[in-house]
């Protein structure tokens, strides 16, 4: 790892003379995690609490003929067995998804994917509930499934969504961005056009903690307290009010410590709703926690994009245009979590980091007999797919033109003076300075030396590959006028209270799943108010304790909530100026701010610290007109634009020519996320994302057989990388602040997940160049690499 002295080299991170605020400090939340004192869903125990289990469909597509729960109800310890029929009576059999579709909570008419929820057992303990599942007698009439998305729109394909009136096919949406005619014209006159099918297979976020809930419905007052694994507690509260018909002021959602989210915990799953139903029916708290197989088989998957991509360029290597047609497999229900106007998420950022003349994309979404979901696994609303597509195409172009892939990228970068840059599909990139980041990663890698080594190795028949990727992310959704989820604008609130002794509490609408919010947000307040981070408590994850906002996903916490927190601290600081002036018997405009203190201009010895001012505010100081006796403030931040972090990644692989086994030898990641609040947390995020990326590139895939059986339903089948598969990460950074963000910060949580898969695959394909391989799809397992070496690479689906 490359550790540079952040304070010395990065003025935005706080110089040596500014000890409080930004910088490399240890995470405030770590002591409780390290000591085993975290409080996760399965740690929650309420008096009289019951347990539950879900019966899941063994087949992918089948008419439900009958369910007999008699034997299960007779099982010792079983309190209730709930079926779809029961839910129909409660009008809860179907729930709205986050994409204007509906999803079955329990099957009423037919099964639409293997692992779908069929019945719900509530029992005195987890064992009785699980055992009783085997005593529910279900008769299915098996139907032919639609598994291959390429065949979903065939005229004779079985119709999956017979519940939608008049539905005669499996089509969900067509969506496009950019100018098709203009793009076609540029393509028609280009020297070089490359076309390649590029598949991003279905993968799963697989957080360490699976999904779960504890529902506690109190019937006398009609209060529902729902402990949930959710990345978006406030949005869930509103949705539960809509779904369950419980008045919103009587719903409290608590998201305790969350063991990883990666988008897996954005949506509302049937299990959450069933826990609520179970509590209403039994009058007792009900816990539901899914097991690993349930998590892998039924909760939000990610990707599943079949992309036909094309790139046009001049023969001297000027990239002119990009176009793509995408077939998007959304599974049995369209339940992707993304802003309403963007059914393909932010995929139209597929123009990447390059200055193009034209671009056009078209995405067609289809239903298949697979689990629903689609936006998850740290994908920044489909930026992952977009970046993978463009970075593979640029690499193929470099090969075709016999140009160095790093130099080809540099040649085509959007130039610093072009920012804010409007791309051809409607985005306005806020800031960027790409070449220094690319050059820095090449310098850390020793790029030229690596190319020399590769040349020598090739002559000896050894397979070494160097993969380059450069990504631009679009994160921090988003401006309310453009972006909402089920009608809720994507803004976030923050409340700050400074107590009389100068200690503070800041309340957030976003929810950490491991990102270190309790530290980062304390540091933002510390930087703005000049009080130490350890004197600031960060409260999040409880809708009764925090202001409204849309939650944590799509790398939006720092871009949106981070801005809210900086602004609320500035509001407090401004208020403190008035109070300090009253205390010092001077005018506010005669005071000057230095970190932590207002002092009299020209006489720094006379001033008041935030703690003194707060005591004054809460004490007996005669306050100016219009100033309340506190040091509190609140804001709701509506971002004017998204932020556009970027990065330059280089991966070095060695491939065993006899077995096709890929070893990632080195990985260099240079990230630019604007102002860096806590570099250690940023590096932690980057390390995790790079590991994700190596996993996807080399081994992760949820496959199905032709009957729709999920072949990735356990960690024996769905492989995630271990420490053995990843190298010692080499990280570096540049700092290009966001011009519209109050502290210049951009999101970084997903950058590495987005940017690393193309670097790894580009390295593998580069290593296989002597075999004439120009493309191979993920995952690059030994067998698939060997097939590519034989001249017959296969799509994984």
């Amino acid at each position: 790892m490359t550790i540079t002295d952040e304070r010395a080299s990065n003025p935005a991170a706080g110089g040596a003379d500014r000890p409080i605020g930004y910088g490399r400090i240890q995470r405030k939340e770590d002591p409780r995690f390290i000591r085993g004192k975290g409080n996760y869903i399965d740690d929650i125990v309420l008096p009289g609490m019951l347990h539950s289990a879900i019966l899941r469909a063994p087949v992918a597509h089948a008419t439900l003929v009958s369910i007999d729960t008699t034997r299960a109800l007779a099982h010792p310890g079983v309190v209730a067995v709930i079926t779809g029929k029961d839910l129909l009576g409660l009008k809860l059999a179907w729930a709205p998804t986050l994409s204007a579709d509906v999803q079955a909570v329990l099957v009423t008419d037919k099964v639409r994917f293997q692992g779908q929820e069929v019945a719900f057992v509530v029992a005195n303990d987890r064992y009785a509930a699980r055992d009783a599942l085997e005593l529910i007698d279900v008769e299915y009439d098996v139907l032919p499934p639609v598994i291959d998305a390429r065949k979903a729109l065939d005229p004779g394909a079985p119709v999956i969504r017979t519940d939608i009136e008049g539905k005669t096919d499996n089509h969900i949406f067509d969506w496009e961005a950019g100018d098709a005619a203009e793009t076609d014209a540029v393509f028609a006159s280009a020297d070089v056009v490359i076309s390649q099918e590029i598949v991003y297979p279905r993968v799963h976020p697989a957080p360490m903690e699976t999904c779960g809930a504890v529902a506690d419905y109190e019937p006398i007052e009609g209060h529902l307290t729902l402990y949930e694994t959710t990345q978006a507690p406030h949005a869930h509260r509103t949705l539960f009010a809509i779904v369950a018909g419980i008045p919103e002021h009587k719903i409290r959602i608590v998201s305790p410590d969350i063991g990883g989210g990666f988008g897996n915990k954005v949506g509302i799953y049937p299990g959450y709703i069933l826990a609520v139903v179970g509590s209403i029916v039994t009058g007792k708290p009900v816990k539901w926690v899914e097991d690993r197989s349930e998590n892998l088989m039924s909760t939000s998957f990610a990707r599943d994009y079949i992309m036909q991509g094309e790139i046009a360029a001049t023969k001297d290597g000027t990239i002119l245009a990009l176009r793509t047609n995408v077939l998007a497999d959304h599974g049995a229900f369209n339940a992707t979590a993304q802003p309403t106007k963007y059914p393909a998420g932010f995929f139209h950022i597929f123009t990447g980091s390059y200055d193009l003349k034209a671009a056009h994309c078209k995405v067609t979404g289809v239903y298949t007999n697979k689990a629903p979901g689609g936006v998850a696994y740290a994908c920044s609303f489909r930026v992952t797919e977009a970046v993978y597509l463009v970075e593979r195409l640029v690499d193929i172009l470099a090969r075709k033109l016999e140009m160095d892939p790093a130099e080809l990228r540099i040649k085509n970068f959007i130039q610093p003076e072009q920012f804010p840059y409007k791309n051809k599909t409607g985005w306005e990139y806020d800031s960027g300075n790409y070449e220094p980041a690319m050059r820095l990663s090449m310098q850390i890698a020793g790029y030229e030396e690596l190319r020399r080594e590769q040349k020598e190795k090739r002559e000896r028949g050894e397979l070494m590959g160097i993969g380059v990727s450069f990504f631009t992310e679009t994160v921090g959704a988003g401006p309310r006028k453009h972006m909402d989820i089920v009608g809720l604008g994507m803004a976030d609130g923050a409340e700050l209270r400074v107590h009389p002794t100068g200690k503070a509490v800041v309340r957030l609408s976003v929810q950490s799943q491991g990102q270190g919010h309790e530290t980062t947000f304390a540091q933002i307040v510390a930087e703005e108010l000049g009080i130490p981070p350890e004197d600031i408590d960060v409260v999040h994850g409880d809708t009764d304790q925090t202001p409204f906002g849309l939650g944590t996903y799509g790398s939006r916490s720092t871009p949106v909530s981070g801005a809210a927190v900086a602004l609320v601290a500035r509001k407090v600081r401004d208020k403190a100026r008035f109070i300090a002036a009253a205390m010092l018997e001077t005018r506010p405009e005669d005071l000057e701010w230095e970190k932590g203190r207002w002092f009299v201009k020209g006489d720094p010895s006379i001033g008041k610290t935030i703690a003194e001012i707060s005591m004054g505010a809460h004490g007996t100081v005669e306050l100016p007109e219009g100033i309340d006796g506190n040091l509190d403030a609140e804001v709701t931040y509506d971002p004017p634009n998204l932020t556009f972090p970027f990065g330059a990644y280089i991966c070095v692989v060695d491939i065993d020519p006899g077995t096709g086994h890929v070893k990632v030898r080195r990985f260099i990641a240079v990230d630019d996320c604007g102002t860096r609040i806590n570099p250690m947390i940023i590096e932690g995020q980057v390390h995790g994302g790079l590991t994700d990326g190596v996993g996807m590139a080399l081994m992760e895939i949820i496959q199905f057989d032709e009957d729709g059986n999920n072949l990735g339903g356990s960690f024996m089948d769905y492989l995630i990388p271990t420490a053995m598969e990843v190298p010692n990460w080499e990280t570096g950074f540049t700092v290009t602040p966001s011009p519209h963000h109050p502290i210049g910060a951009k999101g970084v949580g997903e950058s590495a997940t987005v940017g690393s898969p193309p670097a790894v695959v580009n390295a593998v394909v580069d290593a296989l160049a002597p075999f004439g391989v120009v493309h191979m799809d993920m995952p690059c397992t030994p067998g698939r690499v060997w097939e590519a070496m034989q001249g017959r690479p296969r799509p994984p689906i």
Partner: protein, 292 residues
Amino acid sequence: MQIPAPFDYARASSVDDALALLERHGPESLIVAGGHSLLPMMKLRLARPEWLIDINDLFELDFIVRDGDRLRVGAMTRHTTLFESDEVRRLFPIITDAERTIADPVVRNRGTIGGSLCQADPAEDLSTVCIVLGAEAVIRGTAGERVVSMAEFHVGPYETSVAHNELLVEVRLPIRPRSGSAYEKVERRVGDWAVAAAGASVSLAEDGTIDHVAIGLTAIGLDGTVTEAEAMLHGKAPSEELFVEAGRLAALACDPLADQRGAIDYKRHLADELTRRVLRRASSRAAEAQEG
């Protein structure tokens, strides 16, 4: 949490006690040693024993002892113990090679050689190793002990000749002079089951020709050893040409299935490639042993 079907549990205090418990609880009782195969199967409800007989207190079965021209390994010897044993590395480097690729340290700390052999998973590494080394299995029942060859021990996938009321107590490995052995596995990820693996043991005559050779394959559909290749190599001086031919014969001998780990032609290719590699390494180790 994946929840197994209900079961009862007894902890054996000795081999005789374990045998008595098996007898008492009948055919629906199963022995648990390291538990790294059985417990996942129980959690997935693929295995549903009524009783688990835990033999983790049977410390008398945890030993590695040289006894003349054989090495005796107790059935409860943990993978880690085998992996870290200098004597094992010196006598049977194939075991050290294989152990390095078995799962991860956490699994190796619990898993045992006896458990691995009795699980008889087609992708199990130590079964191949024991076949290649010509091991014998010592099986004890209430009526006494019997000793069987690996060919007799191994009946088929997940099936051995250890009867329900018997216990594998020991594995005996013959020590041959001027020998070398090696194992190599291809896996998609550390800890995944093998895509394919191969093991070989080579013993040289005093003149440097191959006096004894055994080649085994893992996870690609071969019971026993690659006898055609062994016959071809016997009596000849080790050479790259012979290894290439042996690899070709191994590819013909195996009968792999296509799955997520790889296609049939790829796995046949690995039989060839890995056979050549392990023969190369085993021969060179044998030559070193000869010099040493």
